[in-house]
Symmetry: C2
Subunit: 210 residues, 2 copies
C-alpha cells in the first residue's frame, strides 16, 4: 500500500470542450472527484495525499480560466476543511495569483480529527520550490530546505487525462514515484480508477535503485 499518493487532476478543459462547453466550465466539475479521492483514501488508510491544484506555469492561461481553476481550488480546500484532515497548502504567496482565502492553510491546519495529511499545491512552481532553499536558508542542506519540505516523498502518482508527464509537480518528492496514467478526463473520475492504480502499485518493485 502506498503511504503517499499524488493526484494530477488533468483534462478539465478537454472534458468541457467535448461537451460543447467553454474550457473554463470544466474546472468546477473537478471538485466532487477530489472529495471522492479523499473518501477512498480515508477508507483504505492512506497517510498522505497531495493534489496538484495549479502551478505558476498554469497562470499564463486566459483570465477566465485562471479564475475558474482558482475558484475550484478554493472550494476544494474549504470542503476538505469541513472533514477530518491535516491540511497544508504549498505555493508562492507573494503574488496576487495566490488566493487570499487559502493563506490560513499555508501553515498545517488540523481539522476534525486530523486523520490524514492533505496537501494542495496552489500557485506552486518547481523553480520557486527549489530556489526557496537558496533564498531562505544559510544552511548547506538545500534539499531539506525547499519550500515544499513538509511534503514527503511520493510513492504513487496518479494522473488523469492521458498525459504522461509530471508537469513540474514536486521534482524532489517524485524522483522515485511510480506513475499511473488514467486516460479518462478528471471530471469523469470513477472509484475504479483509484483501485486500478492501487493494483498497479502492488506489482511494482520498490527498490529505490538498489
Amino acid at each position: 500500500m502506498p503511504r503517499h499518493i499524488a493526484i494530477i487532476p488533468d483534462g478539465n478543459r478537454r472534458w468541457a470542450l467535448a461537451r460543447g462547453l467553454e474550457k473554463h466550465d470544466g474546472y468546477k466539475n473537478g471538485i466532487i472527484p477530489g472529495l471522492e479521492v479523499y473518501d477512498i483514501c480515508m477508507k483504505i488508510g492512506i497517510d498522505e495525499v497531495t493534489f496538484f491544484g495549479f502551478t505558476q506555469d498554469n497562470t499564463k492561461r486566459p483570465k477566465v480560466q485562471k479564475k475558474a481553476f482558482a475558484d475550484a481550488c478554493i472550494k476544494s480546500v474549504q470542503e476538505i476543511a469541513k472533514r477530518d484532515a491535516e491540511i497544508l497548502v504549498v505555493g508562492n504567496t507573494n503574488s496576487d495569483l495566490f488566493p487570499k482565502e487559502l493563506l490560513a492553510y499555508t501553515k498545517k491546519t488540523k481539522v476534525g480529527q486530523g486523520k490524514i495529511k492533505i496537501n494542495f499545491l496552489i500557485n506552486y512552481g518547481w523553480y520557486w520550490d527549489l530556489t526557496y532553499a537558496f533564498d531562505n536558508s544559510d544552511k548547506e542542506k538545500m534539499v531539506e530546505n525547499i519550500a515544499s519540505a513538509d511534503i514527503s516523498r511520493i510513492d504513487l502518482l496518479i494522473r488523469w487525462g492521458g498525459r504522461r508527464r509530471l508537469s513540474g509537480m514536486l521534482p524532489i518528492q517524485t524522483v522515485y514515484s511510480d506513475i499511473y496514467v488514467v486516460d479518462e478526463m478528471w471530471p469523469d473520475f470513477k472509484p475504479e480508477h483509484m483501485y486500478s492504480a492501487l493494483d498497479f502499485y502492488q506489482d511494482q518493485d520498490i527498490t529505490l535503485g538498489g
Copy 2:
C-alpha cells in the same frame, strides 16, 4: 520532433534471469542497443540524447553487478567516441565508483564531426546534482548552477523494462518531459520501439503548463 531524448535502459537483470543467466550477465547485452539508438537519432537528426548509465543509488547493488554495469558504460562511451558526437559524462567523480576511464569525458569532448550531443549519467545522483549548486556557487541562481547544467531540458523520455518512474534521472530537466514506456527489456531493443515513442510524441500537446 523532440530536440532532446532521454533513454532509461532498464531490465537488463530481468532479461538475464529470464534466460537462466546470472543477473549481472544482462548488462553487456545492453551495449549494442545503445549504439542502435545512436544510429537512429543521427539518421533522423535528433540534437541531443542522454543515456541513464548508473546512479549513486544503483551502487548499493552487489559488487559483481556494479562491475558489470560500470564496464558496460565504459564500453558504450568508448564506442560512441569512435563515431561522430559531442560527448559529455555527468556524475560524481569524487568516488572510487566513478570509472577513471571516463574522467576525460567529464568535459565536453568532440569526436569526429561532433554532430550530435550524447550525454551519459555515470555515478549520477539527483541529490548530488542539486546540492552541487549550493556547494559550488555563491550566486542565487541555484537551478542554473546544478551539476548537470550543461544538459538541456528533456522533451521525450523513453524507458525500457516496463517501469513507470524516473528513478532519479535529472529532476530539473524532466519537469515537463513526455514519458514513453516500452514493456520489453532493454537487451530486447528493437528500432520499432524508438519509432513508436516518436509517434507517441507527435500526439502530445507541448504546452509547458500554459
